[in-house]
Symmetry: C2
Subunit: 199 residues, 2 copies
DNA sequence: GCTGGTACATACCAATCGGTACAGGCGCGC
DNA sequence: GCGCGCCTGTACCGATTGGTATGTACCAGC
């Protein structure tokens, strides 16, 4: 009857959490099987390429999530709403600092060299998308680029510090500061201001 | 002939680089021996507690370095000079973004739980020391605390992003921005009471 | 010259690593 | 029904893990 139809898609989130928690080297097959409930047979059925394919799949899935929920809106949506949404999504995605950024963690150790392209693209696109939104909101191009970089890097730093101090309020505070520090011009004439709650 | 009298102190920096590069789990005894040139015999002679003692020693050594070169000056030296020195030391220590922060890296994965106290103290004292300097330079206490947190977290984020994009200019730029964003009051003999320390 | 602590290499250990082989169990088309 | 093919558990592989035991070269004090 209700077969536990396990699809690759169901495993990926579980898998992601293991890599997030232990890092690439620390995510042993043992821990993976016990956390996903899948034996090696299933694991290697879904991911013939082994650990590396698992990590690559997760990286792609994470990237895809950010493209859909963050980058794409920033690139083509109404800029202020998109930026507001970004802060909201980021806070939710990282569980207010209780969860870390897999891509950022991979970037720090030798794992980076294995997934260099994916890691670079993830961050480059984030910065570029945010800069695009800022420009379209009226910020000068060079200023937009600098502020986008500062915001993205601030999020990563906030994750590090929040985990180091084991205090999620650090993350929440940082997000508030980062949002405030974006120099979005006042939106005077238009009456679009009462549309969506902008953080 | 050339006797190499190796002391523990000589090994620690080599050791630190291995942990920095591969993370705690990734730093295998094999890699450690080949990078330090010391066999397991020597390693376990210096560090009877094994890998964990090696990492703990490194953590303590890093902390000590920061206390001497950054925190102590911030806490008791002339605040502006101390802050200026901090930026200089940080840029040099992290090799303009080519080197990562061991403590920050440990904070991200499950390694944190092994060294929770050391990691927390490292960052807590950094933030506290910087906040102290800011206050003594005339910044309001709550503002000083917020800005200190933002600066420290910004450094960590800059390290992540610089490595992710493999572009050390990201780090240098970030440091410049972070230094600029500290709202140090103007220091002319007759101080202009500008609230924002713009550059 | 003996002795004892220090510094180091080597061989070895059980456990675990990532990965493979294989024998089914199971649901679905027939 | 039946068989085929997608899942999945298990046994197993060689290599490597962190760690230990043993042996030895070296120097200092006596």
């Amino acid at each position: 009857m209700t077969r536990t139809v396990f699809e690759k898609a169901d495993v990926v989130p579980l898998l992601a959490e293991v890599f997030r928690e232990f890092g690439y080297e620390g995510a042993t097959l043992n821990r993976i099987t016990e956390r996903t409930g899948l034996g090696k047979g299933s694991l290697y059925h879904f991911f013939p390429g082994g650990k590396e394919e698992m990590a690559a799949t997760i990286l792609a899935e994470v990237d895809d999530w950010f493209v859909r929920n963050v980058y794409a809106p920033l690139e083509s949506g109404e800029p202020r709403a998109a930026i507001a949404r970004m802060w909201k999504e980021v806070d939710a995605y990282f569980r207010s600092g209780r969860r870390i950024c897999l891509v950022g963690a991979f970037a720090l150790d030798a794992t980076r060299d294995k997934f260099a392209a994916a890691i670079r693209v993830y961050f480059a696109r984030w910065v570029a998308a945010l800069a695009s939104a800022l420009r379209r909101a009226g910020v000068a191009p060079d200023k937009a680029a600098a502020e986008a970089e500062a915001a993205v890097l601030g999020i990563q730093g906030a994750l590090v510090l929040a985990r180091a101090l084991n205090d999620e309020k650090v993350f929440t505070r940082a997000l508030t500061r980062l949002a405030r520090d974006l120099s979005l011009p006042k939106r005077s004439p238009s009456s679009r201001s009462t549309k969506k709650g902008t953080l």
